[in-house]
């Protein structure tokens, strides 16, 4: 409780069916994306595009690593989880 500085790691989402768990942490490089789980074999490209689109829309330019543990999230859900994780990372919403 009572953190005022930006946390080094933030998470949003779950590993329940049709959800995903998104973890964002500070990184040495700009925006590394790592995806594992159900959607990888057929949706990696679509998922990376969605993640970039959401982070660009939020004006993110930090060096962060985004890790997605997917259990069948559609784009709508993935986008919401990435946004929530990023806003938590920035301390905009409660962690």
């Amino acid at each position: 409780m009572g953190f005022t500085e930006t946390p080094r790691t933030a998470q949003a989402g779950t590993v329940e069916s049709m959800d995903c768990l998104v973890t964002i942490s500070a990184s040495g490089e700009r925006r590394q994306i790592e995806i594992s789980g159900g959607g990888v074999s057929r949706f990696r490209a679509a998922m990376e595009q969605k993640i970039n689109q959401v982070l660009d829309g939020l004006g993110s330019s930090e060096n962060i690593a985004i890790s997605v543990q997917d259990n069948g999230a559609v784009d709508t859900v993935l986008g919401a989880r990435v946004e929530a994780a990023y806003l938590r990372f920035r301390g905009v919403i409660d962690a």
Binding site: S17, M18, S36, G37, G38, G39, V40, S41, R42, F43, R44, A45, A46, D70, N71, G72, A73, V74, D75
Partner: protein
């Protein structure tokens, strides 16, 4: 490369399988048998020839004359509790036997123990379903010869027609006597029906029964008579009972599955087959079992008396028999304790062989008498072709089971499946692998409603006539496919190599599709 009747490119020669020229799938009922049945070596055992009894698997392998390069068969009635496949392969390895073709009626997760035998060359080839780590290995090209997949009816057909010759059949026997009579009904490893083992017993050159419940001669009742059985082996345990039969099968509470089951039930109720004598097969999956529950209500409500239940039998079917909603059960495989108990005690619960159940090349298999079957599929395409063999990443992970046979035989074939599994759509433009051609699939039922094959105008009309509470929510295929596309978004195609790692035979022995090698980065974890 030539296209078969479902527009699949089939190489004219497949290394490790042979020429496909004469054997391209040409239509569900296009190929007819010629000539005579194959036969097994004649053996005799007279009164002075000594007993059949042997004390170990090792002795049995020696006595059977099994040598490198031969074909051995197994049945899968012990499912994930089976000890026999692994025991036999371990002993073969110890005896220095190599290059075996194994010809199981199905393999389960427990058989991943054969991985080292594949890598060391004891197992050269698999003709039968693969799954789990063995399926992954095969999909990545880890086996030289392609896996050959046959349906429950296609497999006995291949044996009887001489496509496959079995050198030694190893039959796990929950109960056997010293004369080689075998039954699945009793013993600590009881599994009920032994339906998948019958044809192998008749057509193998040598038959070895392995039991952990040896009885005096003769046992009763007898499933496979000792006249076919060369040796009886007593082993410590043929299987783990908890993996052989499941506990009581309960109808799902999952609302999505119940919704799909409710729609499927409405379709059946609206169809012309919902009348006295109605016969059906629903298996043990969540959705099919719930369909059975809804149909039971509907049959009671509308006073319809059913005929027979077919296929893999669950306690739920047994309940229908006891309540008089079904008159007979024809059981090729008993799934749970209630089914094992029932087949052992109720003469209306009939044990049938896979040949009798589903072979297209006999004088009439039970599937031909079937009104309705509820099936699943990993994918269905806009031609109604169904894929049950490969997963979305292209990995070969499932057998055909009775899918092809019941679809071809039943008057109403329903594939009931959620439109999306996670993000992965089950309705696509083109299935990765064709297991069952669209010409024998009548309807797809998803959480969005009922989609009837346009070939079945009579069924569409019947659905439209149902009104009020019985109304069937019809969804055109285009709309369903569009919905799936919209929800899941664009999919990257599966990257696959040229090498054929699996051959999918249609039940008549023609090649309906091939499965090609995939690469490690494709695989969903």
């Amino acid at each position: 490369m030539t296209l078969n009747a479902v527009n699949r490119d089939i190489p004219s020669n497949i290394e490790g399988y042979g020429n496909t020229g004469e054997k391209l799938f040409a239509g569900a009922f296009a190929r007819n048998p010629e000539g005579c049945r194959a036969s097994a070596r004649i053996r005799s055992r007279g009164p002075n020839d000594g007993g059949k009894f042997l004390g170990s698997v090792r002795e049995a392998i020696a006595a059977s004359g099994l040598k490198s390069g031969m074909t051995i068969s197994f049945h899968h009635h012990l499912r994930n509790g089976d000890f026999i496949v692994n025991q036999v392969l371990d002993e073969c390895a110890r005896a220095g036997i190599r290059d075996l073709t194994i010809f199981p009626t199905a393999l389960f997760g427990v058989h991943k123990a054969m991985l080292p035998h594949i890598q060391s060359g004891v197992v050269r080839r698999i003709m039968g379903s693969v799954n789990g780590p063995v399926g992954q290995l095969v999909s990545l090209g880890g086996l030289e010869a392609p896996v050959v997949l046959r349906s429950h009816g296609g497999r006995p057909r291949a044996v009887i027609a001489g496509d496959v010759r079995i050198d030694v059949a190893f039959i796990a026997a929950p109960t056997a006597d010293i004369g080689g009579n075998v039954s699945g009904r009793a013993g600590k490893s009881a599994c009920g029906s032994l339906g998948y083992a019958f044809t192998d017993a008749e057509y193998a050159d040598c038959v070895v029964a392995l039991t952990d419940n040896l009885q005096h001669y003769p046992i009763a009742p007898i499933s496979i008579p000792g006249i076919y059985v060369d040796f009886v082996v007593q082993v410590g345990s043929i299987g783990d009972p908890s993996g052989i039969v499941s506990g009581t099968t309960r109808v799902t509470r999952d609302p999505l599955r119940l919704l799909i089951a409710r729609y499927a039930s409405k379709l059946i109720e609206a169809s012309p087959y919902f009348k006295d004598g109605l016969s059906f097969q629903t298996g043990a999956g969540g959705i099919p079992l719930a369909v059975t529950a809804f149909m039971k209500d509907a049959m009671k409500r509308r006073n319809v008396r059913g005929g027979f239940g077919l296929g893999g039998i669950t306690g739920y079917f047994v309940e229908l028999l006891k309540e008089g909603i079904l008159k007979k059960l024809m059981d090729v495989q008993s799934f749970d304790r209630e089914a094992v108990e029932s087949i052992s005690s109720d003469p209306r619960h009939i044990e049938i062989s896979a040949d009798w159940y589903a072979n297209p090349w006999n004088c009439g298999a039970a599937v031909n008498q079937l009104d309705v079957v509820i099936l699943g599929a990993t994918e269905v395409d806009t031609d109604f072709n169904a894929n049950v063999n490969t997963e979305s990443d292209g990995a070969l992970l499932h057998g055909i089971g009775g899918h092809q046979d019941t679809a071809a035989g039943a008057k109403l074939t329903i594939i009931a499946q959620p439109l999306l599994r996670g993000r992965i759509p089950c309705v696509v433009d083109r299935v990765h692998t064709v297991t069952t051609p669209g010409e024998v699939v009548d309807a797809i039922v998803t959480e969005f409603g009922v989609t009837v094959n346009p070939r079945r105008q009579n069924l569409i009309d019947a659905c439209k006539e149902a009104k009020g509470k019985d109304a069937v929510p019809l969804v055109p295929l285009d709309e369903l496919a569009e919905r799936a596309r919209r929800m899941s978004g664009p999919m990257t195609p599966v990257r696959q190599g040229d090498r054929v790692v699996g051959v999918v035979e249609w039940r008549d022995g023609t090649v309906i599709d091939v499965v090609r090698q995939i690469f490690p980065e494709n695989i969903s974890s």
